[in-house]
Amino acid sequence: MMKKSYKIDVDCANCANLMEEAAKKTQGVRDCTVSFMTLKMKVEFEEGADAAAVMEKVRANCKKVESDCEIYL
C-alpha cells in the first residue's frame, strides 16, 4: 500500500472538499483526504498504480472542479 502526501494550494474550504471528491474518483486512487487547514493532500494509491501518472490525472481532475487550485507534485 502506497501513501503519499502533497502540498497543495486552494482558496476555500469547500473547494478543498471538491478537490477531495475529484481525487477520490480518479482511477488509481484508493483513498484521499485533503486538509484545507494544513494545505496537504494525502493520497493512498491502488496496488501497482504509478503514482506520478495517477497524480497528473488527479491534478487535471482537481483543476476541472476548482480552477484556482494547485497540487505541487
Binding site: 482558496d11 476555500c12 469547500n14 483526504t33 485533503v34 487547514m37 476541472k64 480552477s67
Partner: protein, 636 residues
Amino acid sequence: MNKKEKNLLIRILVAAVFFVPLYLISEGIVVVELPGWTLPVMFLIPYLVVGHDILRKAFRGIRNRQVFDEHFLMTVATIGAIALGEYGEGVAVMLLYQVGELFQSIAVGRSRRNITELMDIRPDYANIESDGALQRVDPDEVEVGSIIVVQPGEKVPLDGIVVEGSSALNTAALTGESKPRDVGVDDEILSGCVNMTGVLKIRTTREFDESTASRILDLVENAASRKSKSENFISRFARYYTPIVCYGALALAVLPPLFCMVTKTGLEHYATIGSLWGDWVLRACTFLVISCPCALVISIPLSFFAGLGGASSQGILIKGSNYLETLSQVKVVAFDKTGTITKGNFAVETVHRSPLAAEKLLELAAHAECHSSHPIAGSIQEAYGGRVDLDRVTDLEEISGHGIVAKVDGKTVAVGNDKLMNYLGVTHEDCFHAGTVIHVAIDGVYSGHIVIVDELKETSRRAIDALHRSGVEKTVMLTGDAETVAKKVAADVGLTDYRAELLPADKVACVEELLQECGSRKRLAFVGDGINDAPVLSRADIGVAMGALGSDAAIEAADVVLMDDDPLKIAKAIRISRKCLRIVKENIIFALGVKLVCLLLAAFGAAGMWLAIAADVGVMILAVLNATRCLFVKNL
C-alpha cells in the same frame, strides 16, 4: 497578506472608489444629470473589477457540470439584481462578498501560521565537527552514531545521548512544560528541545525521519486529515444544501407570481405583471445571497484545527479531529496503575520470612529475573546491587502475569506473585504490608517474600479530582497488582473503582466489560504508559498514552499522546476537547439559525439585499472569530 490577498484588497478598494459615488447618485442623494443609460453601464465597472473571478468560476463550474457552488449563488443573485434595475444592491453584494472572502483568507492564514509557530520544532540544520571547524549539514544526512554539536540557542536536530557538556534544555515545544530540564553526560535528549545554556556534543541514536521532532510533526500534520463527524456532516451538508437552496430560490421566483396570476389574488398590490415578477425574482436573489454556506464550511474545520493546535501547544497530541470529538464525550476513564497513577519507580522495601539472609534471597531473585524488563525486576536487581552473572542462570521460563521460574546455580528458583505459588503448589505466607509482594520459592520450598513499594505521582489525586469535576462519572484502575495494593492506591487518589490481579489479557476483557456498561452514548478512555498495554489502548474508544516521548509503540497504538507523564493533562485534554466541541456547536447553531431566520424574512419580502449580504458576511466573520478561540487553551 500574501500576493493573492493584496491583489484582492486592491480590487476591493478600486471598486469601492467607483461604487460609492455611483450609489449616492443612483439613490438620488447627490443629484447629477446623466443620460439614463450611463448609470447601469458605469455600475458595471466596479462590478467587473471586484467580481470578475467569481463570474469566471461560476461559468467554469457550469461548463464542468459542477453547477451549484457559492460562486454560482453569488453570480445568479447579483446578475438577477442588476437585471431588475437594482444596480447598487447587486454591486454591493459582490463587493461585500469579496470583503468577506478576503477576511476569511486572512483569518485562516493567520491561524495556520499561529499553529505552525506553536509547533515550530522542525530543525533546519545539524552541526557536525570536522577538522576542528563546525559544519552545517541537513539533519537528513546525519547517520546514526554521528557526533553532532548543539550550541546554546539552537534546536536539538536529532535524538541522541550526550557525550560531552551539560546544559539546560527548553522542552516547551514538546511538552508544554516551561521549566527547563538539566542534562549532562549520558542523558538521553530528544530532538525539538532548545539548548539554552551550554554547548552539547551528542551521539545520535536515530535518523532524522525517526527522530522525535519529525514523528511529532508527522503526527500533527496527519491529525488534520482525520476528519470528525461534524466535519463530514458539514461537507455532506454543503453538497446537498446548495442545490436545494437553488431550487428553492427558483421556486420562490416562479411559483408565487404564477399562483397570483392563475388565481388572480393579490394582483392589486402590483402596478403591472412585470413588477409582480420583478418583486419575486428579487426576493429569490436575496434568498440566494443569504443561503451561502461559507460560514459553516470554513468555521468548523477551523475550530478543530485550532483545537488540535492549542492542545499540542500544551503537550497533548491528538491524532485527529475525530478523536477530539470522541474525547469530549468521555464519561469513563480507565487507568493503568504503574507509570500512570504511580511513578513506576519501584523500590524494595524489605524482605520477610526468609530462612536465608536477605542479600542471598535478593541475589537469587535478581538472577532469576535477569531477562525481565518489568520495572519490578529492575528494582530487585537494584536492591541486589551486585553484578548479574548470566552464566549462572539456565532453563528460564516466564509465565505471563505470574512470574518467572529459572535454574540459578542448579537450584530451581521461582519468583512471582500469589498465583505463581498456587500454580506451583507452594504454600506461601501473606504479608500485612501494603505493597507489591514477590514470593520466592527455592526447589519447591517457600523461602520468603520481597516487599516492593511504588510511590504515587504528586499530581495523581488532583488529576482524578479534576476529571470528576470535568464531568467524568467513573474512574477505574486496572492493575495486575495485588488486591491490597490496588485498594490502597484507589482510596488514596480517590478513584471510584478498581480491578486488581489482572493478567494482561484480562485488562482487555475488563475494558470490553466497561464498554458494555457505557452503552452507545458514553465513551471510555484508557490511560496507560504504553508499556505492555497497546492492545488495551487500541480497544478503548480513546487510548491515551502518557509520558510517551521516545516510546514508539505507545505513539502507534494511542489516539491521544501526552508528551510528559503528568496525569493532570488527561483532564486538560478532555476540557480542551469540550471547549472545542462547544464552539463547533455554537457555530453550527448560530450560523444555521441566523440563516434560517433571514431566509424566512427574505421569502416574505421583509429582508432586502443589504440585510442579506450583511447576514452572510457578518455570520461568517463572527463564526471565524469564534473558531479561533479554540486556540486559547492555556489556562483551561
